[in-house]
Symmetry: C2
Subunit: 333 residues, 2 copies
């Protein structure tokens, strides 16, 4: 990583999403990243992302589609020192539209890598690139506890696109074209905002809605086990990755992030501790075999040793996930 | 697989290589593949491949580069029932020329898959596609015996390109666009012909040259362990893959092929049994630390259970590898 006068240019691609906008606010608020003062914060998304309040002098918002011709070159043209690449077509959409998923999740990402490589060949440019991968790179059969070296054999086009990008990230890093770190994020709980249609939506919903005094549907069994982290932790992973010494990471550049290993029963118990039995009573058990089947094929728990050795940290209890939500995101009562 | 009147159209891409040309001769000689009469055999390579003697009525040779615009569409336009895709830039060349490796090993292969997908969308076309992958998808640290579900984490651009193609093969097969089978071939021993510059060349050379009364250099320690199969077995794997019931394969479509698990000392002992101590005396031990380092990072032995369950077979001793060479390829004494 190099920067004139120790001042850092930062680019966030996918800055309009839930995590991207929180990351922008965090960086604007900190004013530093990877131990250096931030001199420029470019926020890019398909729709114009919002600039964090008070960061108008530092941040610039751009509405651009990375999969459009020439966009990768333009973004790399400013020679950002740190690039966060969070933009993606989500799992369900990539499964519904094969061409869209490959165009955005694979081709646009490769266009970014190639633009960086050409700048490297021309003038030795080599940015830190932080990429968000996914637990969807893992497909059944899966062990109960997934180690860092488990085979990446996805069961969805989205997972394949993420696994391919992980391989490219390793190769471009090994070649010295960029300095990549990939992060497999846990399922984010509690997501702020309104219920959504994602199969994983209930993991947030069964906490978020009762905390607001509203009813929420639980479509799966209480023994369902999954791997969770707060939005705050996700932002923390990204910030930590920006400052990591790449030499410590080794050749496998994508890391499974730590998370809370818990069951739905654990979630409900924590809700009871924080908000009482009346909150728990707002959960309606309405089994949905379709959702249960989808979730049943997902990874349950991980042993993310590499990430822990590199200093990535997350919550360890559902109580902490609830507290993070109440402090950061919950609407005023 | 569908074919008018039970007659099969077969396409070999990479038909000019050592394995491709042997495969063409085998199919022309058998006249059947996957239990059906072969009505057409198209042989494609960058340079014009030779038509097997006597197969002039069946086979057609074409000099085409799959990475050129429109070539994939043209080849798929004939709706071959079975496609063997063997064409690749080899490991050393893909490492020396980054752009060439990705263009040929990834982009050209993806162009083929996409041409097939478009024909599938238009009219339900779904050929059996047999793809040759590589043990280079595995990178250190490696266990002594590598199971079928070991992580694909390559240390070369060639290995990354092959691992990405394996992921695409799974996804295009899962989607029903094609019916893919990938094969990770062992190191081929004894390769016919003259010594070459490949780091693995000595595995063949220390047998082939002494069998012809010529000296040969052994650059590594005799304890070096590796995974070998004859050219005849490699062709057998490809023919067997063409006729496999895809439903039996499961979602992970690329299989490590069986091979001979042996050390260099085992090779030398077999040479002594077949050709006497005077042949063994023709091996010059000239340690080459550079080659030893390259080979030291390679996989050594495998537990290819999936392939064995599906009926793939290979030699089990070096003696058989030597016999196959003497019967198929050795020049007249």
């Amino acid at each position: 990583m190099s920067s004139r006068e120790g001042r850092l240019k930062v680019l966030i691609i996918g800055a309009g999403g839930m995590i991207g906008s929180k990351l922008a606010r965090r960086i604007a608020s900190d004013g530093v990243l990877a131990g250096q003062a931030v001199s420029r914060l470019d926020l890019v998304d398909i729709g114009l992302p919002s600039v964090p309040p008070g960061a108008e002098g530092l941040a610039r918002a751009l509405a651009l589609d990375l999969s459009d011709e020439g966009v990768a070159e333009r973004l790399v043209g400013d020679r950002p020192d740190v690039i966060f690449h969070l933009a993606a077509v989500v799992s369900g959409a990539a499964e519904a539209d094969f061409e869209l998923g490959y165009r955005v999740n694979l081709d646009a990402t490769r266009a970014l890598f190639e633009a960086i490589r050409r700048a490297h060949m021309a003038e030795g440019y080599c940015p830190r690139l932080v990429f968000t991968s996914s637990l969807a790179v893992y497909g059944a059969p899966l062990p109960e506890l997934i180690p860092d070296d488990h085979i990446r054999a996805p069961h969805t086009s989205y997972g394949v696109q993420k696994a391919i990008t992980e391989l490219l990230l390793d190769d471009y890093t090994r070649r010295g074209f960029l300095d990549g770190i990939g992060l497999r994020l846990p399922t984010i709980v509690i997501r702020p905002g309104r219920p959504n249609a994602a199969a994983s939506g209930f993991f947030s919903g069964i906490l978020r809605e009762p905390l607001a005094g509203q009813r929420s549907v639980l479509p799966v069994d209480e023994t369902t086990r999954h791997w969770l982290a707060s939005p705050r932790s996700a932002v923390g992973f990204l910030v930590h990755a920006a400052g990591l010494d790449g030499k410590r990471v080794g050749p496998r550049r994508t890391l499974t992030m730590p998370g809370v290993d818990c069951t739905v029963a654990d979630q409900i118990a924590a809700l009871g501790r924080r908000a009482g039995p009346e909150a728990v009573a707002l959960i309606d058990r309405v089994p949905d075999p379709k959702i249960a089947t989808i979730i049943g094929g997902w990874p349950r728990a991980f042993a993310p040793e590499a990430a822990r050795c590199l200093g990535f940290t997350a919550e360890t209890t559902v109580d902490e996930l609830i507290d993070a939500y109440l402090e950061d995101d919950a609407p005023p009562a």
